[in-house]
Amino acid sequence: MNDMTLLERSVEQTEIKISAQDVQVWYGEKHAIKDVNVDLLDKTVTAFIGPSGCGKSTFLRCLNRMNDTIESCRVGGRIALDGEDIYDRRVDPVQLRARVGMVFQKPNPFPKSIYDNVAYGPRIHGLARNRAELDEIVEKSLRGAALWNEVKDRLGEPGTGLSGGQQQRLCIARAVATQPEVLLMDEPCSALDPIATSQVEELIDQLRAEFSVVIVTHSMQQAARVSQKTAFFHLGNLVEYGNTDDIFTNPRDPRTESYISGRIG
C-alpha cells in the first residue's frame, strides 16, 4: 500500500527543528502540560488537536515563550530550537520570536497601513538597509501570503480596513516578513469563511517549503487537510503523535480514536 501513498502527503523530512523533552507547564497550582516529549520536524506542517483545555495552545505558546508574559505561568523541561535551549537565560525572547513567529486566532493587524504592518518587524529587527530593500521584503511577504495582488494598489490604506480573510493573510505576511524558521498558528482560520480558510490552508502548504509550521486547530478536517504530522493532546498529556494519515485512519490510542471520530472521550 505504501507504494501508492500520495507523494505530497508523505513525510520525507527527518531533520528535527524543535525538540521538546519532559515539558511541564503550571498555571499557579494547575498542572496544564505534563511530561510532553515531541520532536517537531523542519519544513513540515504539524497539527495539534484536542478538546478545549487539553493544553495544545499552552504548549504551542511555550515554543516561542509567549507564556513568559503570563505571571502565574511556569515552564519546566527543555525545549530546543536547532539544539539550543530556548529557555536559556542568554536567549532574548524578542529575538526568539523573530525566529519563531506566531499568527493568532483573530486577525490582529496593527492600526497602521498595510505596508507598515508588514514592514514593522523587519524595521525593528534591522533587516532592511534602505527603503528599496524594505519595499522588497514587503512585496515578497505579501506575495508569500497570497495577498499582494489584492492590496498592491492600496498599500497606504489601513490594514484594519481589509476583510477578515485578508486581515489574517496580512498577519501571516507580517509574521513571514521577519523570515522566521518556524511559524506557530493558533486557530488561524476559526474566524474565517470557507473560501478564506482554503486560501490560508493553501498558503500553509506553500509555507512548508520554507519553514516548519505548527498549527493548533479545532477542525479535525483542517488538521487532516494541511498537516503531515498530527499530535493529539488530552488533559495536558500528549497522547499520540504520528503521521497524519495514520492518526486519521488507524490511531493507536483509544482516546485518539474517540476524539477524532467524534465520540465522547
Binding site: 487532516a224 486519521f248 485512519t249 488507524n250 480514536e257 474517540s258 477524532i260 471520530s261 465520540r263 472521550g265
Partner: protein, 236 residues
C-alpha cells in the same frame, strides 16, 4: 472496537443502518448459496428460478448500500474505525454481490443439468462442498457482526479445505468425461458449478480479511493457506 456512541447520534444511526443492510444482504446471499446446492441436487427447477429472481434483490441492495456509504462519507466525514467501517461495507457488499451472481449461475446450470442424465455422486459432492462454503460465509459474516478477528482468521484457514474439494471434483469429472464422452456436457456444467463454489470460498475469505482490516487497521500480510491453484492431472 470502539463501543462508545458518537456525540452526534444521527451518525450512529447512519452507521447502524448501512451495516444492517450488509447483514441483510449477507443473509440473502447465504440462503442463495444454500438453495442453489439443493436445487442442483434435487433437480428443483422452481427453486432454481426463485434463486434467479432473488438475485435481483441482492443487486439492488448493493446499490443501496453504496449510496448510503457515499452519503455517509460526504456528510459525516468518517474517521478511524468509522472510516474503516464504511470502506469495509463497500467492499463486503461488492463481494456479496459477486457471490450472489455465482449462486444464480449455479441455478441456471442446474436448470440445464435437470434435463440430462445424472452424473452419479456429483450432486451430493457439490452439496457437501457448498455446505462448507456456506458455513464459511456464515462465520465470515458473524465475525463481521462481532468484529471477531479470531473467527475471521479461522475462516481464512478453512478455504484450503474447499480448494482441496474442488481439486478432487476436478479429477472426478475428468474421469467421467474420459469414460464416456456423452458425459462431457453435463460434466462441463458441473465443473463450472464446482469452480463457482470454490470462488465463493475465496470471497468468504475476502470478507474475513475485511473484518481483520476493520478491527485491526491492517490487512493480514501472511499468505493464506492455499491448495494447488491448478489441478495437475489427467491431461495429455
Amino acid at each position: 472496537m470502539n463501543n462508545e456512541r458518537h456525540i452526534l447520534s444521527a451518525f450512529d444511526r447512519d452507521l447502524e443502518t448501512v451495516q444492517a443492510l450488509v447483514v441483510k444482504m449477507g443473509g440473502m446471499v447465504e440462503s442463495a448459496i444454500h438453495d442453489s446446492a439443493i436445487a442442483l441436487e434435487a433437480r428443483d427447477g422452481e427453486l432454481a428460478d426463485d434463486i434467479r429472481r432473488r438475485d435481483k434483490a441482492i443487486d439492488e441492495l448493493e446499490l443501496q448500500i453504496n449510496e448510503e456509504a457515499a452519503r455517509l462519507i460526504a456528510l459525516r466525514a468518517p474517521r478511524a474505525t468509522d472510516l474503516r467501517t464504511v470502506l469495509s461495507v463497500i467492499k463486503i457488499s461488492a463481494i456479496l454481490e459477486r457471490v450472489g451472481d455465482y449462486a444464480k449461475n449455479i441455478a441456471k446450470r442446474s436448470d440445464v443439468l435437470a434435463e440430462m442424465p445424472e452424473i452419479e455422486g456429483a450432486g451430493m459432492a457439490l452439496r457437501r462442498m457448498s455446505a462448507t462454503v456456506e458455513a464459511m460465509m456464515k462465520d465470515a459474516l458473524d465475525s463481521y457482526i462481532q468484529r471477531d478477528v479470531a473467527l475471521a482468521a479461522d475462516v481464512r484457514k478453512r478455504d484450503l479445505e474447499v480448494d482441496q474439494m474442488y481439486n478432487a471434483l476436478f479429477r472426478e469429472f475428468l474421469t467421467h468425461m474420459m469414460e464416456d464422452p456423452r458425459n462431457i456436457t453435463a460434466c462441463m456444467h458441473l465443473h463450472f458449478i464446482a469452480k463457482n463454489i470454490e470462488r465463493m470460498g475465496d470471497h468468504a475469505t475476502g470478507i474475513a480479511e475485511q473484518v481483520i482490516y476493520l478491527a485491526t487497521g491492517e490487512l493480514p500480510d501472511d499468505p493464506r493457506p492455499k491448495g494447488e491453484s491448478v489441478p495437475r492431472i489427467g491431461g495429455a
